[in-house]
Each structure stands twice: as C-alpha cells, then as structure tokens.
Symmetry: C2
Subunit: 364 residues, 2 copies
C-alpha cells in the first residue's frame, strides 16, 4: 500500500507552514473544497448514483478530489470521503436519507451493542479509502500535498449514539452524565480505530492528517477535556510521525473550541484549526506560536461581492500578521464551504490570499 | 403604568447577587423556566389557542410566568413573552408555523423596507407586554423579583432578515459583508426600540432586565463587536438605572461569546450570562470580578439521574467558588431548558443549588 512517489511535492508551502518553516506566501485550501458548490462535482455525483457510491469508488473519489485543484490555485488536496466511514465499517449501517444528512440503521442504544463494538481493520472494510488515497497520490503526481482526515472520536460517537445529526445531543449527553463508563468505552474503541485509520492513510500516501472535531464545542468545558480532547491526544500520540522521509504534520480542529486553544495546542499536534470567532493575532499571543494555525474566514463572507471577499481575506491575513513575524499560517475557512457558494468568488479568495500574503511576507 | 408596590422583594437574593452584595446562598432561576416541559404550561397553552394568543394575553402570560414558582423554590420570575415582539410591532407579521418555529410574513428584503423601519411606541403596539409585567408584579406580591427581557438587536435582525430561524445566517451575513450600511440601519432602529421597550418594562415593574444575544456567537470576532456588542452597549447606556428607589441591574448574554467576555463585561452591564463552555473560575479570574456571572449548567445534564443532576450542579458551584470568595453568582442553565426535561429533575437542581451553596457561603 505504500506510494510509489517518495519525494516531497513540488509545492510544499502547505507542509512548510504547518511546520512553521519560512514560506514565500500563505498557503490556502478550503474545508469541503470538493463539494456541491462545484457543478463538476454535482455531475460526477449524478454519475456515481448515490453519495455513498461516490465515496466508495476510489476512481470517482479521486476525480472529485482533483476538481477544485483544476479550477483554483490551491496549495493542498484533501481526500474526498465521508466523516462516518469508521462507524459504517463497525457495522452501524450508514445511509443518507434525501435532504436529511447521514443516518445509521443501527445506532448504539443497548449496553450489549456498545460492549461488542470493535475497531475495524482499515485495510479490510475501509480498503476503499486506502485505495482512493493511493490513487489520488498517483494522480496528483507530486504537485501539492494530500491531506488525510478523520472525525474525532467524540464527533463520531455523537452520530453513532444519536443515529444522525442532532440539535441538542440529548442521547449522547444523557449517556455522558448518566453512564460515562459506556461513553468512555465507545470513545476508547473509536480512538483506537481512528489511529489505525489515519496511520493507514499515511501509509497509503497522505502527507498530512486532520482530525475534525465538529461537535466537541457542544460540550461543557470539563466534559470537553474528558470526552473529546483526551481521545484526540491519544490519537495524536499514536500517529506515524514520519513517512517517505518527511514529517507528517497533524491538524486538530474543534469547531467552537476557541476558549480551549491552550489545551488543544498542548496535545502534541502541529497545527490547530480555528473558526471565525477567534482572532488569529490574539490566539498567536495566547499560544506563543507553539503551533501553526489554520483558518479562519467566515464561509458566509464568500456570498458577498468579490471586492468584499478580497477585503475580508485581507483582514484575516492582517490579523495573523498583527502578532508579528513568524508563526505558521494556513489560510482556510472557519468551517466547510457552503453548497450555495458562487464558485467564481473562490477564485477571488484564493488569488487574494496568494497575492496579498506575498506582500506581507515581503516578497511582493 | 408604574407599579403600586414600591419596596424591595422579600427574597432579594437574586438582585443582591447581581449587584455583588453578600448573600446567604446562590440564587437560581432557569432560562425558559415557564415552558413546555411543564404540563401545567401545556394546559394553559391549549386553552389560549395559539402561542401568540398566550403571549398577547396579559392574564395568561401572568399565569404561566407564575407556574414554575409554584413548583420550585426559584429566586426570580421572568416575564413570559416571545423574543420577537418588537419586530412584530414593527409590522413584520410574526407567525408560528406548526413545528417550525417563528416566521415573519414580511421579512426585510428590499432597501425601501429597511429604510422605512421605525421603532414602535412600547405603550402602543407592545402595551400587552407592559400590562403583563404590571399584572405579574401584582401577582408576585413582592415575593421574588421580576426579570424583564428583550432579544439583542443582532438577534432580532437575524429573524427580521432571514424571515425565521437559520442554520447559516446566509442572508444577514451577506448583508453584513456586502451592505453593512443597511444592516447598521436596521440595528440602529432596533437598538432604539429595545431601549424604550426595556425601559417601559422597568417602568411597568420589571426589577432587572436581560438582553438575550442568542445569535451573536455566530459572528466573527470583529463583526461581533461592530454588529452586536456595540448596539447592546448603546442599549445598556440608555437603560433606566434606578426605579422604585432600587438599582435595576442588567444582564447581557451572548451564547457562544466565551472568547469575548472581557469586551462584554466592559459595556456597563451588571452581569454577564455564560453558556456551559466557559469555566466560571477562569472567567472570574479573566474579568477580576468586575461583573456578576449568571450560569452555566448544560441543560442536557437535567436528563441524567437526580444523583447526577445534583453532582453536576455542585460542580458548577464549586467551579465558581474555586476562584475564591466574593464575586456574584446567579445559578442558571447555559441555555433555555429543553421541552423534554423531566420536571422532577428541576426540583433536585433547585434544592441542590440552595443547600450546597449555603455550605459554600459558610451558612450551612
């Protein structure tokens, strides 16, 4: 499963920024950059049949992964996959009801179901993901780095227990407050699974990995540390740190975790993702540049005019640079790009980030 | 419209805590304490016909305001009303579609609609609210204080522009980034209206007021200051500070605003509401006890067993007291109580807060 291409990509700005090495400009990629706002994505998805068929076909997953790179001057590709592949491989039966988001046929409700949960072998039930990673790496032909990813254990557990999206997380939180032993068991098995899943992605060619903790921000400050962060710490500790002769950086992103960044930055990851509620300058000061930062434009800013998009992108770059030289910044949105985003506004965003940041880096 | 009863309530613990005066125990009330989790509320609502009929009938609004006080040993009552009374009085046509939350018949879409917006006279179109306040004050018979409230200008503007609830605030944020002048106009008229609305509530008998900034936390750090906080500052500056010979304290609550508490505490309010993502001890340290704090139990903790409810309530009290003696704490949830909450768990919560905090205050 190792990748044939063993050298660092031609454009390694993204990897350099994550490792806080000097860069000529600020690299940029967008969460959910391969997605429904792109007409070419919608076309591939139509051909695939269903969203799950698209995820489970390595060649179609590769096709949509590359689509945004053909349109925009992005500095990284991210594996196209679903966040819920692990619980699906655990046997919970992932499906997508029309317009309702992901659901599980067999959510975790009974203690015996929880006790019989087992971490799947990533090269068995999740082989389609590893095949996609390898195919994307070949197709990228060493142009830009490929990011692998997983949901955080707590975020996966939310879906596994609730059975789908939830507005109040009533089931998972009732378990948290009433039967913390059961939730810890789920999280422990899931953390073990995420670790082997991400390491298999690295082995298959992913050059950086990101953990998406989409729902950790719904927890109380104490519960976040106990039920989300500690498991991400275990994962980061278990990650393959070097592959193909290069450091494989890790990024941890808890949406809504702005108050907890000191703790997040302390778990051993190389970079921390930020939503738009945090000021990059004040976070740099709080964290004393111990980690790189990724973010953090409000995705809704992309609905404004191109002039306003450019102005907002510059604000984010200025904010980061207001805390002085150095640091390490990867430009991104603070959350996934909206499916309603006008694609041409993304062109303005990416070009503005590159051009304006060259000036800030003194190379303009 | 002034109230006949001119003395401080027999139980003034809530008001004393807001003003950081010594108290024998920690006072407690719950956001949305008069609501659907109470069978007696559901019964009154059935009799009323619709939710809006209930809000617009002073005697029924009084009835449901008092219901939780009959069941629980709460330290404050809060006016039962809807958060969207102001835009309704502005002529936007508030209605409730079954199971869909509040909607407006005439959301603000065109520039001329925005430019013709005017602040309503609180004693005219909103007279039913003032009548309810006066009737509740009479019915409370000076037992506990009555809290008046309003939504924040930004939160009201979200509904006025989106036309109802929104997952991504696309319309209001597009206006924010594209036509900030229009959004500022809406916010300015709304802030003027909220000020006169809250002052009329005080004049009619409200002994403390709270501003609910439910959606300010969806903004970027910079936009929050410009489009939400600055208007709440204007309102707080314009509030009647003393009535019936007593100070009328104000509470400001931005859900998701934990990173911005230094700024919120600086706008002149007496107390700041907190959701469960903040540690009370660390907030007390950050703010050096300049304001009282209100919060911050996760409402979902009420779904656990009574033993777990008591343990979680004690954690919140311990957290506040971990920062040392003094301060000013009003116990509350970090958000409105869920309609699915078992009512008997609230008994455990209220009694635990009273009993355990007496020990912490050295009076146990």
């Amino acid at each position: 499963m190792t990748c044939a291409i063993m050298t660092r990509p031609k454009n390694d700005t993204f990897l350099r920024a994550l490792l806080r090495e000097p860069v000529a400009y600020t690299p940029v990629w967008l969460m959910r950059q391969a997605g429904r706002y792109l007409p070419e994505y919608c076309e591939t998805r139509r051909r695939a049949g269903s969203f799950l068929d698209l995820c489970k076909s390595p060649s179609l997953a590769c096709e949509v992964t590359l689509q945004p790179l053909a349109r925009y001057d992005l500095d990284a590709a991210i594996l196209f996959s679903d966040i819920l592949t692990i619980p699906d491989a655990m046997g919970l039966g992932l499906y997508f009801a029309d317009g309702e988001g992901p659901k599980f046929e067999r959510p975790l409700r009974e203690e015996w179901e929880i006790r019989s949960l087992a971490a799947p072998d990533p090269y068995d039930h999740l082989r389609y993901v590893m095949d996609a990673v390898a195919e994307i790496r070949r197709a990228l032909d060493n142009s830009v780095p490929l990011i692998g990813f997983s949901g955080s254990p707590f975020t996966l557990a939310c879906y596994m227990i609730e059975g789908g999206a939830s507005a109040d997380f009533r089931r998972v939180k009732t378990m948290l407050y009433d039967r913390p032993d059961l939730l810890h068991h789920i999280l422990s098995v899931t953390a073990q699974s995420v670790t082997s899943y991400l390491n298999a992605q690295i082995e298959s060619g992913a050059q950086a990995v990101m953990i998406f903790d989409t729902w950790g921000g719904a927890l109380s400050h104490g519960a976040y540390r106990e039920f989300s962060l500690s498991y991400m710490q275990t994962i980061v500790a278990g990650l393959t740190k070097e592959h193909e002769g290069s450091r494989v950086p890790s990024i941890v992103f808890t949406k809504g975790g702005g108050q907890w960044l000191e703790d997040i930055a302390g778990i051993g990851c190389d970079a921390v993702g930020l939503d738009w509620t945090s000021s990059l300058a004040s976070v740099r000061t709080r964290l004393a540049d111990r980690v790189a930062l990724q973010g953090n434009l409000d995705p809704m800013a992309l609905f404004a005019s191109p002039e306003a998009v450019a102005a907002e992108a510059k604000k984010v770059l200025d904010d980061f640079h207001a805390a002085g030289p150095g640091g390490g910044h990867v430009f991104n949105l603070g959350h996934g790009i909206s499916q309603f985003t006008p694609p041409e506004h993304v062109t303005t965003l990416v070009n503005t980030v590159h051009e304006y940041s060259r000036v800030l880096h003194g190379q303009g």
